[in-house]
Symmetry: C2
Subunit: 617 residues, 2 copies
């Protein structure tokens, strides 16, 4: 066995420094694009105005071009009479000129005639027999914009490296640019390594998982201002990895791989780099959690980033090390990450000597923002996708107390309005869907009753759903009774559903993970029917349906309405009571009130009874 142990872990900062010692981020060059294609691109030249804007003095109102001095002392009682000697419209190159006591009719945007130095608004003029009667005086320069007053010829307008916004593109157009030089988007080759990986869209065989990293990293590469090239999945063997790297070196400005970089016996990628060119491997392992199995290599001036295979680790390390480097290659400004202060929802022990990056989500509390760690683990991409930010715990911190103030680096502002926990119930989906439809951001974490009660006690969650055999509900709810209020109750008839003729001993039963109360009760019920049986547990009714359609011998616990809809045979099991509890302090908030309103609405009740056959109480 040849396991590689990471010998010299470096910090994130050291890794970046080592990389920069070997290679500086360099733009692959400049291209010229049409200004209609330039939005969001990075300017590759300084822009110095090559004309004045406006390019001539022009009227900025509709009216009459005059000599301002002729209107001196004009008033309602003492108007000035100016002879109209012509008209000039926008776009017309007029040779007209005015002398004393004359004026010229002029449109907005038209060139100011020689001799004129102001424009009187059309609203302030009366026309009588070829004369303009002006009833108020105007100052020199009034009603017009002089040549170069917006931009002067030679003015420095934009810097190389500016991101082209809509306004900047407008300025370029105004200055006559139809094309503009922008930095080429660096090409980044990406592949994933692992025997367990399957391309999304293909069938998932046992022990395989779908490849996540290629796609999430590809999207991040776009966000960093570069262009991803997807090279697919490589098996965990030297030949495929080498082949991928050689291809990447040929076509790309940088390479990002993931997986195959841990200490696992079949992790081989790191061996290949030194063969391909110098300096080869320059960083092998990072003192960060997650992110330890990160490697960096440089081969023939091309940087190669080897990220951990776990999706969360890969994204966090991308953010810390790869993104800044790629942005510098793309000449894109660093992303500004906002930080906010929050209190930590739990007591947290960290590993000494490794910096830890802990994804958290945020919720409002009485003491301000509360940061709640997400413990999906490094493999849990879905958990990360719902995270609001990252808590960075320094190497020398071993413990953060519950309620301690911490700083959270925000991803973006997608903070949940309502967090629902407890038991799964098809009823909840109907209610939460209605909330989502009116724009309420719902986070759902139906991970069972114990988890739900803890979350409600710690004021992390707002809505608790319990699904318990009728008559047995008291036991759980008293624990946190003073903090929560029951706002709604439904009753569901549960049945044993099956395709065959009868339920016989030795059958396999399938139970949705519907809370331990219901589960134990269901198991007792099964025991009372047959003496010998197997049990399978799955998370939702959907998953139950999925399994039962594949293996028709199974017997499933389902709501009556679902069983009848699918043409199963069934026998009654028991009645389940679905209760909705809301935190008392949440009840008075705007979202709390909306939730209550939806729960109580006739419409919701109708949808529920027609869909699920539930009844109230």
């Amino acid at each position: 066995m040849s396991r590689v142990i990471f010998k010299k872990l470096v910090t994130v900062e050291e890794a970046i420094k080592i990389l920069h010692n070997y290679i500086k981020p360099r733009s692959p060059g400049i291209e010229e694009v049409k200004i209609t294609e330039a939005y969001g691109r990075i300017l590759g030249e300084n822009i110095i105005a090559r004309i004045d804007l406006p390019p001539f003095s022009r009227a900025i109102v509709d009216g009459y071009a005059v000599k301002a001095i002729d209107t001196s002392f004009a008033s309602e009682v003492n108007p000035v009479k100016l002879k109209v000697v012509g008209k000039v419209t926008a776009g017309e190159d007029s040779l007209l000129e005015i002398n004393e006591k004359e004026c010229i009719e002029i449109d907005t945007g038209a060139i100011i005639p020689k001799g004129a130095d102001a424009v009187v608004r059309v609203e302030d003029v009366l026309i009588e027999e070829g004369y303009a009667i002006v009833k108020n005086s105007v100052g020199k320069g009034s009603g017009l914009a002089t040549l170069g007053s917006d931009v002067y010829h030679g003015q420095f307008i934009m810097s190389e490296g500016d991101e082209l916004t809509a306004e900047k593109i407008g300025v370029l157009a105004g200055l006559g640019y139809d094309k503009v030089k922008v930095f080429l988007k660096p090409k980044i080759a990406i592949f994933s390594i692992g025997n367990e990986l399957t391309e999304p869209g293909l069938e998932l065989k046992a022990s395989k998982i779908y490849d996540v990293n290629q796609y999430s990293i590809g999207a991040l590469v776009k966000k960093s201002g570069c262009e991803p090239i997807y090279l697919g999945i490589k098996k965990d063997n030297l030949e495929e990895i080498r082949e991928g790297l050689i291809k990447g070196l040929e076509i790309a400005d940088a390479i990002i791989i993931s997986g195959g970089t841990s200490t696992g016996s079949s992790d081989l990628a790191y061996k290949v780099f030194d063969e391909l060119g110098s300096p080869g491997l320059i960083v092998h392992g990072i003192a960060a959690k997650p992110g330890k199995p990160t490697i960096i290599a440089v081969v023939n001036d091309v940087p190669i980033f080897g990220l951990p295979g776990f999706p969360v680790s890969a994204l966090i390390i991308y953010d810390l090390i790869v993104d800044p480097f790629l942005r510098q290659m793309a000449k894109k400004k660093p992303e500004v990450k906002k930080k906010i202060k929050a209190i930590l929802s739990i007591r947290y022990l960290s590993e000494r000597g490794r910096r830890e990056y802990l994804p958290v989500f945020l919720k409002r509390s009485e003491r301000g923002w509360m940061a709640i760690p997400i413990f999906g683990g490094s493999g849990a991409i879905a958990s990360l996708s719902s995270a609001d930010g990252i808590l960075e715990i320094p190497e020398n911190v071993e413990l953060i107390e519950k309620g301690e103030r911490v700083k959270i680096r925000l991803f973006s502002e997608k903070i949940s309005d309502i967090i629902a926990v407890g038991d799964l119930s098809p009823i909840s989906q109907v209610i939460l869907d209605r909330l989502r439809k009116i724009g309420v951001k719902v986070r759902e974490e139906f991970r069972g009753l114990e988890h739900g009660l803890t979350c409600m006690r710690d004021e992390i969650a707002d809505l608790l759903v319990t699904c318990i055999p009728k008559g047995k509900e008291v036991r759980y709810e008293t624990k946190i009774f003073h903090k929560i209020k029951k706002i709604r109750s439904f009753t569901m008839d549960m049945v044993w559903a099956f395709y065959g003729d009868e339920i016989s001993s030795g059958s396999t039963f399938i139970l949705p993970k519907i809370g331990s109360g219901l589960r134990n009760y269901a198991e007792d019920k099964i025991k009372s029917m047959v003496k010998d049986f197997d049990l399978i547990e799955v998370w939702t009714y959907d998953a139950v349906m999925d399994l039962i359609q594949k293996r028709r011998s199974l017997i499933a616990l389902l709501p009556l309405c679902i069983a009848t809809k699918h043409d199963f045979n069934f026998i009654d099991a028991f009645q389940a009571k679905v209760n909705y509890f809301i935190r008392k302090d949440f009840l008075v908030t705007k979202i709390g009130k909306r939730l209550t309103k939806i729960m109580e609405s006739e419409e919701t009740i109708q949808i529920l009874s027609s869909m699920l056959g539930i009844y109230m109480g």
Copy 2:
């Protein structure tokens, strides 16, 4: 003459309401795209997990799969010995099983063998003759992730309308999606109206300007999540406008035009709408400054937005009315505009009865942010492109006092670090370029000495450049002497440069707009040379060069170094002194120190003397 007067101006809010009464923003539909193309798109379906993640219980560390109970009480002194009965690697569908006192070597990501309920890390195990020596106990579930622990089958994962981030795309891949349904980008036809407009890239004839709006609006349309279709420039006549609208109605989901909607005698667009279909014109004029000549029409369920021709007005109205509507069509979330509090730098009078939107830029002051109105006027796109935000002044406010607290709606964070004012000088470009290169955000407003002195007095600007005949400089600088400090002085030899043989009476002289002190002095000098002459003024030395190359009969005032470089004949004019003043309170800031350092550096002096032949003092 047939000028149209806007009869019933409505507020921005009323205009939006009227529009919504006639037509609701509607997505043009759904398309399916590959997940590699989905970044930034808007999800067109709800995503309910169709598998568990992970799809099986798997190891999250390299090590040995065990029964946790077998490791109870294991310690350094009392290790547990477990028989290694096999090995399972990631991606391998193993049928291995463990019984009591057995273990299986396992890689990260591999399926947990039947019978095992924990994984001991490889670091915590010694292998001896086919046995694993375990020196610490592990709990059930340690070192593994159970089936569905990240996502459970049937879990609600993403909402229709979610913007697809990198993390979300990762989740989709992990769930096996290779394609995903997204909302189609609405197609928006855009054209500009005006006889004065020229396409960028073409030669600019007298009295013409380049079209700005088509390009700035096109980029904004992309930002709103839609796809612009550029229909070009239409002349201000009924036929061309009608033709453009008919084309737009055929191919687009909405139309945006600009110009041709004011009260000017040749402004015709509004007449066309009613002909094309009902309800036709629904809003004609908005009580906003800028933005009055805004119209909205609806023809056959297609909204048509007629924006003012002035670029700044067009962009402000786009932001207020068009962007929210297009985002709803594209199902994109509204843009979150941050607001900050600032003090206004001047006393400002506003027009009663019209809401005013005043572009401002921001700078730090002792009392917090200071908002400085940008008075480029509605035609001034370059001024807008350097604005940091907008001050909204309600209809009923006529006056805001200097120093009064106001709320600014921020565009983005591109706030200037340093603002330079005063006279133009080629020396400044060298110095400011060096600042820009090290990432300092420089805003330059070289609009002459008077403007510069005012800005310095009001603490709006940080760096003042004066360019004055040697020996005449005292007069200006004493005004604000207590606030500023001279940090550098350069002397430039100025000459009269020309192509011909001599300077004769009746010649035309060309002067750069280099501050009134220099200008008047220069004019006196000319008078002492010839008795009859013409004067042309331009903004920069570049513009001087441009003119003189076109009309070789001109005589130009230029720095000696430039004249000699271009092979002109010349005679001495006078010496000009270029002084750099910095605000005393700015001098002590980080940026102030950097500026001083650059001004004083040997490198700068060398570049300057080799480029411009200047010398110090």
